[in-house]
């Protein structure tokens, strides 16, 4: 940063905190606690996989929400909202035709170009599938750029599974394409019907066929999952620079100003929320 810049020469970003209004096209229940929303923006969002938006309901509040759709040229934004607070609870009660505020896209995102020619392994826990879908969609649409794609997606119970139909579509794709593998798990079935495996996402990693030198990993889930998955990956010979994690923090601005999302000296909303693990492995607050 240039410390000699004086405020008089800096042009303020007048729109920094002003949301654009997005119309709700669809709002559908997805699982016990999550709803899926398709929104129409005034202009294309122009995001990268793994970025987030600040989503708001005027008069109620604003919160960071992962973008759940792959990059697109139209004005559509898709998100998954878990009923976890005042704002998200309110959003669950909204109807098509109503409006939400959107700022962004913000954050680093996944750098797909840098992974060209490699095998991409996505490890997902619970709600982590929502942001990971923004990566999976462009990867599956552009499979020839990768030597392969594996998804290991776990959640606690069958009732908590997200994107049920779409994930089964990916599974069908895998049946006809040896480059694609999809493994679905639940921690426990809770006596509900379940057509996937039972266990933690770390279990398949023991025996998963992979070329450690030619694999990149993208992970999205709870911090405790990261700790154990990273241990497994290291045991399989992967290095920190091959692993990418998507971290959650409290964010009130999305633009590196409010101070809430700091992980040691790193601003999660600016340098993250997606990090190459070797760049944060030394930060004590990273995987808390």
């Amino acid at each position: 940063m240039n410390a000699s810049v004086t405020p008089s020469t800096v042009v303020p970003d007048a729109d920094l905190y002003l949301p654009r209004m997005a119309r709700i096209l669809e709002i559908l229940p997805m699982s016990a606690r999550e709803k899926f929303l398709r929104l129409e923006l005034p202009a294309p969002l122009g995001h990268r996989p793994g970025q987030f938006v600040m989503l708001s309901c005027l008069g109620i509040g604003e919160a960071p929400i992962s973008i759940s759709c792959g990059p697109r040229t139209d004005n559509i934004l898709e998100v998954v909202i878990r009923d976890a607070g005042s704002l998200t609870h309110h959003i669950h009660g909204l109807k098509p035709g109503q409006y939400l505020g959107v700022r962004g896209p913000f954050g680093s995102g996944f750098d797909l170009e840098a992974w060209s020619g490699q095998h991409l392994l996505c490890v997902v826990g619970g709600l982590g599938l929502a942001p990971m879908r923004s990566l999976i969609q462009p990867v599956l649409a552009n499979l020839e750029s990768f030597s392969g794609f594996t998804l290991i997606s776990g959640c606690r119970t069958p009732a908590e599974e997200l994107y049920r139909e779409e994930v089964r579509g990916w599974e069908q794709l895998a049946q006809g394409n040896s480059k694609v593998r999809v493994i679905r798990l639940v921690d426990r079935t809770d006596n509900q019907p379940w057509d996937g495996r039972v266990g933690l996402v770390t279990a398949p990693l023991h025996t998963l066929e992979m070329d450690p030198a030619n694999t990149v990993v993208a992970m999205c889930g709870p911090p405790v999952m990261y700790k154990f998955v990273i241990l497994e990956l290291k045991a399989r010979g992967l290095g920190d620079a091959q692993i990418h994690v998507d971290l959650e923090r409290r964010m009130k601005c999305g633009v590196g100003k409010c101070g809430h999302c700091q992980i040691n000296h790193v601003y999660c909303c600016q340098e993250g929320p997606v990090f190459r693990f070797d760049r944060i492995a030394h930060l004590a607050e990273a995987l808390q």
Partner: protein, 263 residues
Amino acid sequence: MKPKVAFFDFASCEGCQLAVLNCEDILLDLLALVDIVEFREAITGTAPYYDVAFIEGSINREQDAERLRDIRARSAVLVAMGACACIGNVQARSNFIAPAENFKRVYGSEERNQVQSDPEFWPLWAHTRVRAVREVVKVDYELRGCPLVPEEFVHLVKSLVAGTIPRFAAHAVCVECKMHENTCVFDRGDTCMGQITRGGCQAICITNGYRCDGCRGLVPNANMAAHLGLLQSKGLDNREIANRYRLFCSAEPLGRVGRSGHE
């Protein structure tokens, strides 16, 4: 349908209901949002069901507890309103004194002996303890303070009408003192409960030249040991300290040993 709202009072001065009525500039706007079915300070009536029940006052007698449970059973949302309902307020100080001793102080020895021996007065002995509302029934929201803060009341009503979860400060009074650029009470030569007391009051007492006596109750994880040490270092004796902590929020950082110095 406008939400049906009711106000009930138990052991209190009813000052919180008056504080609500004193929201004159917006009272009509508030009334436009809700349908008030019971309000002892303003109207009377009964209804079988309430969307929101505001409870003012502490629960002192078993018959009060029964009445409260009945209200809870008929209410979708129950709000403890004011320090009496939230933390027992000043009347909870009597919890530190044996009931017989309280009777003696208030009515004299002779009357004390009479209420102890005459079966006609035995129901009075069911009054053994002043309780906050949450000690008797589940409380959805708390409007703290003696009296409640009108802005918080309005915020709660707006949130309930909008279907959102209201937010109340969990930080110390000090935050609002700094926002108002108040001179710290300790720098004025007095002592203060602000560091361990929940904010949300805009530090109104300190802003107006007094100190914080803790009417909004303790912050979560209040550092009582540090505060006790601070009061002791300012020369307060244990009797003064016990009175300070018990005045509103029934706190006992000194422990139960050697606490006989209360007034």
